[in-house]
């Protein structure tokens, strides 16, 4: 797209991310999401291949999966959705990205070291345990050829131990790996469908 002269960069593309809420007007929450999505997506796009242009990504939240106090599910879903949109538009990318949400909660016990783990929960699941949530982690990995390359985002809220965060990284690596495989399957299916005309 054509870039506003003020934002034009001579050697790379300008990246703009807009998050629109499902209800109400844009607030600090959307600004927070924009910032985090930007941090994850920007290093993956080959911006230098489209200098002096604008890549505008609009993330419209259809239904927020989070309860009022959280941002994690919306964030991880936005990152995954943004990545798929870029892939579909043919924007040059260096690698693949997947994100996941991990939630620690106490199930009755007050001992936080015995907390239970919930991964990529639905809103209903989240509402059930809302009062027992101890910590919330959003993690995004960059993958190349199906292998974890580097950590792009680690966003933690709540009280947690170092071991828990490290455990989170391991769990997230497995989940992201799986998400990545699902993504690959979806893309393969899409490509196959689009080239059906080649047969016969």
């Amino acid at each position: 797209m054509e870039v506003n002269k003020r934002d034009e960069l001579p050697d790379v593309a300008t990246l703009e991310i807009v998050v629109r809420p499902d209800v109400g007007v844009t607030s600090t929450r959307e600004q927070f999401l924009q910032d985090r999505i930007m941090r994850v997506i920007a290093p993956v796009i080959a911006l230098e291949l489209h200098p002096r242009t604008l890549i505008q990504i609009v993330v419209q939240i259809v239904q927020s999966g989070d309860t009022k106090i959280l941002n994690t599910i919306t964030l991880s879903a936005s990152i995954n959705a943004t990545y798929m949109a870029l892939l579909d538009a043919g924007v040059p990318l260096r690698s693949t990205v997947s994100a996941t949400s991990i939630i620690y909660y106490t199930a009755g016990t007050s001992d936080s070291s015995k907390a239970k783990v919930l991964i990529d929960p639905t809103r209903a699941e989240l509402e059930k345990i809302e009062k027992d949530i101890v910590s919330v982690h959003t993690i995004a990995y960059e993958l190349k050829g199906g292998k974890i390359e580097r950590l792009l985002l680690s966003e933690s809220v709540g009280s947690f131990t170092e071991d828990q965060v490290l455990e989170c990284y391991d769990t997230a690596a497995n989940i992201c790996d799986e998400t990545n495989r699902t993504m690959r399957e979806a893309v393969t299916l899409g490509v196959q469908q689009k080239s059906r005309w080649r047969e016969a």
Binding site: G145, S195, R196
Partner: protein, 258 residues
């Protein structure tokens, strides 16, 4: 020609590609097409999702072209591409004037068309006078992503004659995917893409112009028929040949009856 779906960042199995060229004595020549980024010295990085395709050719020099084939995505201008654009303005003086042409959904959204870049435009009096909103069929004569605006021309580069380029009057514009636009422009039989145009041509007379930017322009006997032809082309994009023929015949028959 081999094919395999790849995602950005996947390793490119160069060995299997070089194999094809290895039977000659000279070093293998690999040409990189769209979707593959070369990071010196020898890293090849796919930057799009699609089918990894390689074409080996022996003339004029034995070489293998490797590219990522995609059916859709945004249009990125390239020299020699034909595009369909809309005139959105004019600037310059009477001696030297230029049109600003919008190329929608393109990585470079505005092209510059000189009023002298038409056939028979040597004299100021024979130059066409395009008004804002006119649809033009043009060819990209110069473009670089770093420089921005593509430069357009409206004449056949081989003969210098009109060759179908210029303002398109009447008819209707429609959007298609960039992949379909590419197929429609391919020579018949080779890529299987323009078959839908051939099938339609046997049923009803019409004019078509295809822009690589994912736009087609159609004109025919009536508005109803034009809309039906556009529908037939858009709908059958992913159909197999038999399905496509059946569907096209039905759409045209329906358009005739009402």
């Amino acid at each position: 020609m081999s094919s395999e779906v790849i995602l950005p960042g996947d390793p490119i199995p160069l060995d299997s590609l070089i194999d094809n060229a290895e039977d000659s004595d000279s070093a293998p020549v690999i040409q990189l097409g769209p979707g593959i980024l070369h990071i010196p010295p020898e890293t090849l990085l796919p930057v799009r999702a699609g089918t990894l395709t390689n074409l080996t050719r022996s003339k004029p020099q034995k070489s293998t072209t490797v590219y990522v084939d995609t059916a859709g995505g945004r249009y990125v201008p390239a020299v020699h591409d034909t595009i369909l654009g809309t005139v959105i303005g004019r600037f310059g003086d009477q001696e030297k004037s230029f049109y600003r042409v919008s190329i929608p959904d393109s990585a470079a959204p505005i092209g510059i068309l000189s009023s002298a870049a038409f056939a028979n435009a040597a004299s100021r009096h024979t130059r066409p006078n395009l008004s804002t909103g006119a649809t033009v069929y043009a060819r990209i004569s110069a473009f670089s992503l770093a420089l921005g605006e593509p430069e357009l021309e409206c004449f056949d580069e081989k003969t210098g004659k009109e060759g179908g380029f210029g303002e398109l009057k009447g008819g209707m514009l429609a959007d298609v995917s960039t992949g379909l636009a590419r197929r429609l422009l391919a020579p018949s039989g080779v890529y299987g893409g323009s078959t839908v145009v051939e099938v339609l041509g046997q049923l009803v007379p019409f004019e078509i112009a295809v822009g690589r930017n994912g736009r087609i322009w159609i004109d025919s006997e009536s508005c109803r028929m034009t809309v039906a032809i556009i529908k037939a082309i858009q709908e059958t994009e992913e159909f197999s040949k038999e399905q496509m023929e059946e569907r096209v015949q039905k759409i045209i028959k329906d358009a005739r009856q009402k």
